[in-house]
Symmetry: C2
Subunit: 434 residues, 2 copies
């Protein structure tokens, strides 16, 4: 088998055989296939795409490049939830405790903020004392006791993914749907899950700008799941405006606390409950989605989810009191109001611009090595569809330093679109792929 | 400027600015841009193509990566001829001496056989003593004295091309029309020519299988010439059957000798004269193409071209007597006849298969480091359109060893298509692009 022939055939739109995909991934991970050949293969894949069989084999090869997190000693059905990344998306911190409190085992391996999107690990680490650098043994111990634990990616899990991602990042091949699907699914399959709920974001603040692309990505990941014997369901959800009101790490933890006490934003509550319900359904706690939705709702209303989150904060070294006393969380030192000069209806809030502004003042990172300021971010005062008067406050920027503040304020101002006519509300959950 | 952004934009089909193309080629040649980024750029270029401005700037950047052969001390108009590579294509050895004998200065920098196509240098080196590894000073000396000299590519000329070609070869990006055009034109521009005649081959035995691709390549190279102030004309010619009868290095030199004595195959003679006439026209020896054709014809008929070739063979260390006494050339030790079992009309002779068979028994090379057997090859006994009887000889394979002989014979047999109906003759010169 010659690597150049495989590149050639992928370039010409052919489907590669399972052993050929395996040869490429194994050879690359072992350092036998050079970067320059694999990057040409990745670019050919960007243009030619991959079949469902190809992405499944590629996912499996990536999983086999490292070790698998063995959770067989823990009783119960293991279900994780993964989002393709959005702005203000803190649903993991709400849906996971609700599902775990209903009896689902939720081994949550999460990522960090990059670019304009946030990361679950960074949000959790804004809680003083919270540790996500657990050993696999500690992770298993927490899951056995609490049905829930949060951990970061470890280098032993799918090293091929880390190597491939770095190469994609340097060669403009990140945006390939096939490569995104294999990257996400390899990490999830390596957790030895039984089932997975995916939240595929679409819109200005998401990787996928078009619904047709989001659908293809969702279908591909569900298909990989089917071939690798994992039950997978995917929601396609709107990311044309931030989810909830809060964007920024500690600010989002505050909103999580409110939402787990049933006092959160309507959109965030609705999506978190739907995700939790699907985890509960796939976790075999409920027989129908209807029943699962009722279970999720009751676990929110009776405070079980809230208490579960407090338990796991304490178990991972954090101070659970932060959920009641927000002054115990990192707090910004200044706030700048962004107002509107004219009245009307809010017709759009560009999530990407809000995410960029928030990242710019320290809530996110541009490169993996940047550090995060947990206190800063943006809190919206309005959402799309709302009627506003001239002079109304659109949002507040919370900051700890004034560097980049003016620039961030400009971005935020540009994010809001005001119309003279009432606007139709957007659907939040656009499609279900299963 | 970030390399990844340039890859991204080329991937998305954008035209890059001149300084961006320059940055990529300069950076890559100097080793500042890694192979893995350039290979992704090349694959993106394969899919997205390049504008005429982009290929011109890329050609210039490649020329500037090395030194230019300064021919300003030699009086006269310098015109080279280049073929994109075919099977049995020995026109350079006929057209160049004819044009030089008419007063055109022909600095011919040629290539070697690769894959199923032959190389001018290998053909010349089948002449005992003939040396092509001249210094640039020797090259200039020969040009001043004989108006003609043959030399190989030197490492000082467009090192970027050598580096890029090796990368393309390993990453399935050789077939990009834009990259083929820049590779050819950079080497020609570095010769400081005044004009160039291109022979773009199309058909089964050529790189370009479709006339539309050949036309695009021809137009692109003519366009590069225009932007870089070189007059360039291109013929698009048929390569669905080998040119002439002989395929193989010494065998082709014999056919060159016959053709220069006006006793060669009709197709080879016709194309060589047309190429020579265009060189004479662009070389300003004749005012019109009609006049140029007359000059070329007369230089063939009065033996001037033949004598010029003998002169340059002697000047480059070879024995000019080989043109009269073929036993002085390397000769095969065995010959195998390929006959047809049924009569009819020859409707096709697949040039690629003939080239592969010839290469397989030693006339060509699969990798740059393979050595060549100058004696071996194939001599056709028939051409497309000819009526044949059952039992007729189609061709003879000339060999020096029997390894691969049976395999080569199978390929050659497959190459001939016999029809029961008379077939229309194909046009040899399909188009002129200027």
């Amino acid at each position: 088998m010659r690597t150049v022939d495989l590149i050639h055939r992928k370039r010409d739109g052919e489907e590669l055989a399972p052993e050929e995909i395996q040869y490429l991934i194994d050879g690359y991970t072992r350092g036998e296939i050079p970067d320059y050949q694999l990057s040409a293969f990745l670019m050919a894949t960007y243009f030619s795409g991959m079949s469902d069989r190809e992405v499944s084999v590629m996912t499996e090869s990536m999983v086999n490049s490292g070790s698998i997190v063995d959770l067989s000693s823990i009783p119960g059905t293991k279900v994780d939830k993964h989002s393709t990344g959005g702005v203000g998306d803190k649903t993991s911190l709400i849906a996971a405790p609700i599902a775990a409190s209903a009896g689902v085992v939720v081994p949550m391996i999460s990522g960090r903020a990059l670019g304009h999107t946030g990361g679950t690990l960074d949000k959790l680490e804004s809680i003083p004392g919270f540790r996500t650098d657990l050993t696999i043994d500690q992770f298993r111990g927490l899951l056995a006791e609490h049905q829930l634990a949060f951990i970061g990616q470890t280098p032993e899990i799918t090293p091929a993914d880390g190597k491939l991602y770095a190469l994609r990042d340097a060669t403009a091949t990140v945006e390939s749907i096939a490569l995104i699907a294999t990257s996400i699914m390899s990490k999830k399959v390596a957790e030895s899950l039984d089932a997975l709920v995916l939240d595929v974001k679409v819109g200005s603040g998401a990787f996928m700008k078009k619904q047709v692309d989001a659908r293809r990505l969702a279908q591909m990941m569900v298909g990989i799941g089917r071939r690798l014997d994992k039950r997978v369901q995917a929601l396609i959800t709107d990311m044309n405006q931030p989810l909830g009101y809060a964007v920024g790490n500690a600010l989002e933890v505050m909103e999580v606390s409110q939402t787990l006490q049933n006092a959160g934003p309507a959109d965030l509550t609705r999506l978190s409950l739907e995700l939790a319900a699907r985890m509960i359904f796939l976790g075999k706690i409920a027989k129908t989605m209807e029943e699962a939705r009722e279970v999720a709702q009751s676990k929110l209303l009776d405070g079980s989810g809230y208490r579960k989150f407090k338990d796991i904060i304490a178990a991972q070294g954090g101070n659970p009191q932060v959920l009641d006393r927000f002054d115990l969380l990192p707090n910004a030192t200044g706030a700048q109001e962004i107002t509107t000069s004219r009245g009307g209806y809010v017709s759009g809030i560009d999530a990407q611009l809000i995410g960029q502004a928030s990242s710019m003042i320290g809530a996110g990172r541009n490169t993996k090595d940047d550090s995060i300021d947990p206190a800063v971010g943006v809190i919206l005062e309005v959402k799309v569809g709302q009627k506003i008067e001239a002079g109304s406050i659109l949002c507040r920027i919370y900051y700890t330093g004034e560097e980049h503040l003016a620039e961030a304020a400009d971005l935020v101002e540009d994010a809001f679109k005001i119309s003279q006519h009432p606007v139709e509300e957007r659907e939040l959950i656009l499609e279900v792929v299963s």
